[in-house]
Amino acid sequence: MTVLDIPKVAVPGQPLVPSFLTDEGDSISKFIPGQGTKLERLLVQDKNSKVPVIIATILGKVKIYERVYKEEAEAEEEEEEEEKEAEGKQDQEQEELKVRTFIISVVPKSSKNYYYQDSQDSQNLQKLKELEIDTNIEEVTSKNQEDVIINKSLSNLPQEGDIVLVKILKLTLKQAFVEIIAIENKKALDHSARTLINNDSAPPSLYSSIASTSTTILQQVDIGENFKGIIRSQDVRSTDRDRVKIIESFKPGDIVRCIVISLGDGTNYYLSTARNDLGVIFAKSHGGAGEIMYAVDWKTMICINTGEVEQRKCAKPF
């Protein structure tokens, strides 16, 4: 019975919890840094060596989730059954150290819904329980599970594997140039929101102003606030990929759902729509002059007012 002695709110740099805690010898609590936290080695007052401690990296409220693995849970059940059968002999093994894993994260004030995205664990992850701070570890209160999903990293930059919404800017024969508008399950990219809502221009980055001295003036004009991306023709769909025609897949102005396959080069992220649930979501006919179109099948869209049919690589809507 250990009472978690963890602060409820944290400022950057504040130590939250050591990475391991023992409860009077019979179980170990292991803490994993989640969003808004980092594992660092710090000197502790009465010790001379550095100890792994989880610190907060942003200002926000501290949240703790318990991680329960599906396999582990099943294995434990099986073990229990076996142990019942073969009682007596394995008494000593029964007293194995129990390791409970907790994810500790700091959630900023502004955010409400967080989704846990951890590609390695998503298969094994059965449930994440939110723990009330100041309660005993033994008395876990599980809350509505779907609300309690957290993001692996706070930085709202696109990462490999993220699903992003993009706007098509420019087409060439080999690739489509896009602008990343939002990342699914993350806070909207501030910059894009800003430029969409009001046209206040932020002062240009100091770095870009240096870089642009070597490039042409034309590029300097369109220094955007958004991250850019490329969908290459071979990444549009997974079948018959050498016969893809970009012009039959996207048109400028379309809103497309993509997955980030690589951080790409300095300027562009590399994106792909080679999945059923990825592709054009919103499109207007006649290059944006017409009305909104709806997907009929995976490569046609229709405008219900005019009956206009255009070709797109559509995302499966449901």
Partner: protein
Amino acid sequence: MNVQDRRRLLGPANASPIVFSDVKEKKSKKIQAKPDDEISKMFINTGLVKNCDGSAYIEVGNTIIQVSIYGPRPIRGSFIDKAILSTECRFLPYLSQPNDSISRLTSSTSLITNYNGKLNLSNIEQKISSYIESCFLSCIYLENYPKSSIDIFIKILSVDTNLLNLVNDVVHCCSLAMVDAQIESKDLITSGNLRYLKSNNHIIMDPKCKDKDKDITNEVVEEGKLDLVVSFMNSRNDEIVGFWCEGNDTLEDDVLEKLIERCNDMSKEIRKNINFYLIESLE
């Protein structure tokens, strides 16, 4: 004389000149001298600028500083796996900059005249920029933000103090803006500033210009007087991230150690206040 001057717009015939009442010049209040071991009060606020990702505003006496942070935002050019940090400090154009006369003397070496390719920055502005930049470089988790840049814009709206005292306030303002921008960092940087008078072995914490009419641009570096700013990451075992010393004298090791210790005390005190402000702002 009925002939009017038609080339001019004349006022009405019954116009009379304005007479101002006698305005007595207000006697400027004498600023109460602050005890030498006390830190001056400050007013802080965050998130005032809506256009940027994070901002902070700080007032200490008549010194007013505003910092806005843009980032992480995309860069152009080749791939980088870490964010680029850049800092730009600017005084409002009509302000007289502290220690200007001194820096003009040193600028003849022209080592810093074109710091980081930024143009039109005065020497003082460049010095402050590079100090802040080097402090925060070691503090931010730059590897979390590939292909992006983080830009710190420091605006000094009003100044009534010496250079290093100003730098001290700028550090705190930047730290607050960094928190407001939710940029992941190892710690919150705070710093301490003091003046050491060698003649009577006296330490003045948070030295202010007591004389209001004193020209800050011409503060002469006196023999045996030493100004010091040390920046710390206080919850990270008091790691020092920045050190700036102005003076014209040698320092003994043990004295320096003592001075840094005092700066650390001051930094911790300010850190407590900033922590309190931040935690209050959450609720």
